[in-house]
């Protein structure tokens, strides 16, 4: 009958991989989470990035508009002067943070004081905008003062240059974060749910009566997940590169490095999924467990905000999470174009996590 060729576990494993992949593509929630959601975030952040800095400043009614100071302020593109509101309206807008400040210019007839009195009102409601506006206006006033007394000898001279090196765009921060998010959710949710489902619906039980070894069933399922995750990661990177100018410092080489990082991280995240599928008894027990693993990493791992923007005590937690290291390594690889050796500390952190996770998983994972 079939005794001529020795049994190939690999062939059996690949049959499982093929069946599993087909299943994954037909599962809408997996596709949504792993691909659609990250792409959505990238689109959102991609469009936000197109804006330029601007601050609205109210110009108090009856302000003097004839001075040199006023001309300078008006010509600065960052400052948008609002002239069509009444004083009480401006005050309200200032308190609500819609205006960065209120500017008034009054010509003074008192000869003991400067000819033009400028008052800038700001509010805590728009601290950032107010600070920017204040600095710009102060600068404008200084320029006006200097222009009025040209013979004054300056102690310090300054000029500004625009650096033309590759600039870190918002997407260069966000896309690696989204990749990490996609890999994390795919790895954890994908693995946890699938094994639970298969265990409960006795799909895998039938496999046990065939010559395939249990380990190859797991490998087959894992491989299909890896293939799917790498495919969706590739798509995300290509989309970011073509549509939003995501920086791939050394092109294809950088892309490959990112794929390797994705693979290592996915390996760790899938292990976490295995642990959950071993712990959870029913399908409804999976989301809380999975979210406990995914959400803290999502928030603290530097996906949306840099880790440095957190208080020091939170950063300690951040530095213990695997996603943090993945995000860091991804950003450096993509933007700085470094090779994998340069991010070896990040990879090492991921691998240590991998060992811990798989030790736990082999203990907890149950077949039935």
């Amino acid at each position: 009958m079939n005794g001529s060729k020795p049994y190939s576990q690999i062939r059996a494993m690949l049959a499982v991989t093929q069946a599993s992949l087909r299943s994954i593509f037909r599962n809408p929630s997996t596709v949504a989470f792993s691909f659609a959601l990250p792409v959505f975030f990238i689109l959102v952040f991609g469009f936000i990035d197109k804006g330029t800095l601007s601050v609205s400043v109210g110009l108090a009614p009856k302000s003097d508009t004839t001075s040199a100071a006023y001309s300078i302020i008006k010509s600065i593109p960052v400052i948008k002067l609002v002239t069509d509101e009444s004083a009480p309206q401006m005050r309200e807008d200032l308190n609500r943070g819609k205006l960065g400040g209120i500017l008034s210019l009054v010509k003074s007839s008192d000869t003991s004081r400067p000819a033009l009195q400028v008052v800038f009102q700001k509010s805590k409601a728009s601290a950032e905008g107010g600070a920017v506006a204040e600095m710009i206006i102060t600068n404008a006033i200084n320029s006006a003062n200097l222009a009025a007394v040209p013979e004054l000898k300056r102690a310090v001279e300054m000029r500004t240059e625009e650096v033309t090196d590759p600039a870190f765009k918002k997407i260069d921060f966000i896309l690696p974060g989204m990749l990490g998010f996609s890999l994390l959710s795919m790895g954890v949710f994908g693995t946890a749910f699938v094994f639970l489902n298969l265990r409960n619906t006795l799909v895998i039980k039938r496999f046990f009566a065939t010559p395939i070894h249990k380990a190859y069933i797991v490998l087959g399922e894992a491989l299909s997940r890896v293939i799917f995750a790498l495919m969706s990661s590739s798509l995300i990177i290509v989309l970011g590169y073509l549509a939003f100018g995501f920086t791939l410092q050394h092109g294809v080489f950088t892309f490959i490095n990112m794929m390797v990082l994705s693979f290592v991280a996915l390996f760790v995240f899938m292990g976490m999924g295995f642990i959950i599928s071993g712990l959870a008894k029913t399908e409804s027990a999976v989301p809380p467990l999975a979210n406990m693993i995914v959400l803290p990493q999502l928030i603290l791992g530097g996906t949306f905000f840099p880790v440095s923007s957190f208080p020091a005590w939170l950063q300690v937690i951040s530095k213990a999470l695997p996603l943090t290291y993945l995000n860091e390594a991804m950003r450096r690889t993509a933007f700085e174009g470094v090779g994998l050796f340069s991010v070896w500390t990040d990879i090492l952190a991921l691998m240590i996590w991998g060992v811990v996770v798989y030790l736990l998983a082999t203990r907890l994972f149950k077949w039935e």
Binding site: M1, N2, Y7, A15, A19, S23, L202, P211
Partner: protein
């Protein structure tokens, strides 16, 4: 007759012990090549446990099992290659189409199969491109039966193959099982349905609380009962209600 055929399954003192109770209490039996052998008994009797042990899905606590000359302890993988298994409540990747599932099992058994021919054996050729979850109960059972044959097995084990099916499907599944046996495959079946056992099985073994309480051909068992003075309460007619039903509604496959 059938007892001239060689023994294909040999079970000696099979024991399955759990912490708090013993499911199978040292049973012994033989199955002859080419017969349809039935395992009957109430729920909890130990039929499914026994079957699962023979199917290599469950470990035994003691005893010896030989299938087609292969010892369960020494060559479990060899046994897996020559048996087919239909589980009582099994599933398949639900969103996969039938021919994709056949690809899967072909790979699992390392065999190249003619998929359409396999589906034709169970009358499902026109459902090849349908997803498993879209099949009716009867169709799912037929597909399940189909997957037991992929590796051209020597023995197939069927756990309650017609539970939940309508009369047409049951009859037609019986014909299918007989055809499989006529092709040279030995069939071991567990069932709750006595009419099924009486119709299909060459020999039956009745299990109760982990032990056999009877093992013989259905005919012999009935004869023994009648010889002991048993008389049926109702008068036995030449036909029964099922015959009426089938006569009225026809005997072809009924697919919803």
């Amino acid at each position: 007759m059938k007892s001239q055929s060689p023994v294909i399954i040999s079970v000696k003192n099979l024991l399955k012990q759990y912490e708090d109770f013993t499911a199978v209490k040292g049973i012994s039996f033989e199955v002859y090549e080419g017969e349809i052998f039935g395992l009957l008994g109430p729920n909890g009797a130990g039929k499914t446990t026994t079957l699962e042990i023979l199917e290599t899905l469950r470990d035994k606590s003691g005893g010896e099992v030989t299938i087609d000359g292969l010892n369960l302890d020494k060559d479990q993988n060899g046994i897996k290659k020559i048996i087919g298994v239909q589980l009582q409540a099994a599933g398949y990747y639900p969103s996969l189409k039938l021919f994709e599932l056949l690809d899967l099992f072909g790979g699992l058994y390392n065999v190249d199969i003619d998929k359409m021919k396999m589906l034709a054996k169970v009358g499902l050729e026109d459902k090849a491109k349908n997803k498993y979850k879209d099949l009716s109960g009867g169709q799912k059972q037929r597909f399940s039966l189909c997957t037991t044959l992929i590796n051209n097995p020597r023995v197939i084990f069927l756990d309650e193959p017609t539970t939940g099916l309508d009369p047409q499907s049951r009859r037609n599944l019986w014909d299918l099982i007989r055809k499989i046996r006529d092709n040279g495959t030995t069939v071991v079946i567990t069932t709750h349905y006595m009419d099924e056992a009486e119709e299909l099985c060459d020999r039956v073994a009745v299990m109760e609380a982990g032990e056999f309480i009877a093992m013989d051909t259905p005919g012999n068992l009935i004869d023994k009962l009648v010889a002991g003075g048993f008389k049926r309460k109702k008068e036995v007619k030449q036909a029964n209600l099922e015959d009426v039903f089938l006569d009225l509604t026809g005997r072809e496959w009924r697919d919803q």
